[in-house]
């Protein structure tokens, strides 16, 4: 166990809530599974794009948006299973270095949506991989006050930034996303124009 004792760890919903407190109008891409459902329940906003499928490409979507709209800070809510599935994107982001991309990874070391099967992030440090790939700011945090401190700094600094938040496995009760996928596309795209 790399982190502090279990009791200090946040649930993903708690960690997300702490970040939502700091966000204003930044566009947000949320990975598939419970993270999207939790984000929708915690703070639904027009600038949220919820993925329901296409696991592994959350950061890729965020990267494309960051390149298309360099004046906006793009935030990505990702998971450890998602990052591991699309590891190559760490290299693409590290190489292209978009200054306006903040990649937040909620790392519970399991595939939580499908029954807590373990991922390799227990033994492979995703923050070390991001740093090696060339992300400019990389932090690993557990506690709420550190989440707040580091995310605030990332909002102010030039990226790309990678915030690895070690969380517990607790899921928030949250329904499936009520919007149809085309509605989400329309709403999100309009929020950006």
């Amino acid at each position: 166990m790399i982190g502090p004792e279990e009791g200090v760890m946040q649930s993903r919903a708690q960690a997300m809530a702490a970040i939502f407190e700091l966000m204003t109008d930044q566009p947000l891409i949320v990975c598939n599974g419970f993270p999207s459902r939790e984000a929708c329940k915690l703070r639904d906003r027009d600038q949220n794009f919820y993925m329901i499928g296409s696991m592994g490409v959350t950061a890729g979507i965020g990267l494309g948006l960051a390149l298309a709209q360099p004046q906006k800070t793009v935030v990505v809510f990702d998971g450890d299973g998602n990052v591991l599935m699309g590891l190559g994107t760490l290299a693409t982001i590290g190489a292209l270095k978009p200054k306006n991309l903040i990649h937040v990874v909620f790392d519970n070391e399991v595939y939580g949506t499908t029954g807590n099967q373990p991922t390799y992030s227990r033994v492979v440090g995703l923050d070390k991989m991001a740093r090696a790939a060339g992300y400019v700011n990389v932090e690993r945090v557990w506690e709420k006050e550190d989440i707040v401190y580091e995310f605030k700094a990332m909002l102010a600094d030039s990226g790309p930034s990678f915030l690895l938040i070690k969380i517990n496995e607790q899921l928030e009760e949250a329904d499936r996303i009520a919007f149809t996928p085309p509605e989400m596309t329309k709403r999100f795209k309009e929020s950006l124009s």
Binding site: G56, V74, S193
Partner: protein, 165 residues
Amino acid sequence: MVEADDFVKGLQGIGFDFFTGVPDTILGGIIAHLTEEGLYTPAVREDEAVAMAAGAYFGGKTPAVLMQNSGLGNALNVLESLNLIYRIPCLLLVSWRGFEGKDAPEHLVMGETMTTLLDTVKIPHRTLSAETMVDDLQWTAKTFMEQRIPVALLLKKSIVKTVQP
């Protein structure tokens, strides 16, 4: 044979302004020209490229993704569970390796089944030719705008000039 810069001008003429992808020899000339013009963002996998294109579309761009047809396999899940269900369009510029069985063994199965595969997943496609290029591009723009889903232009060898490796 079509010059790469004429082909790129044709794509820009119908609105395409964001280009990403993974290279193939057939696409080499197009990628070289796009890179010269500072228009090309390389991806490491085809599904990543399709995802970047989706993000760029959200941000107001009209995106195109270049790939070898083997990459269609890599991109298939994103095309199905992102683009097709969310109505996120992109142009897929796909090189047709393995056309008529004349290629290295690794290209033969995809070369033979690619159009059936595209039909099965309901991605509209057309095979580019020098003679019909203007019409092909118009069809591409129209399908993209009307259906808001991925649309594929298939590129056989020696249609658009390439660079020698």
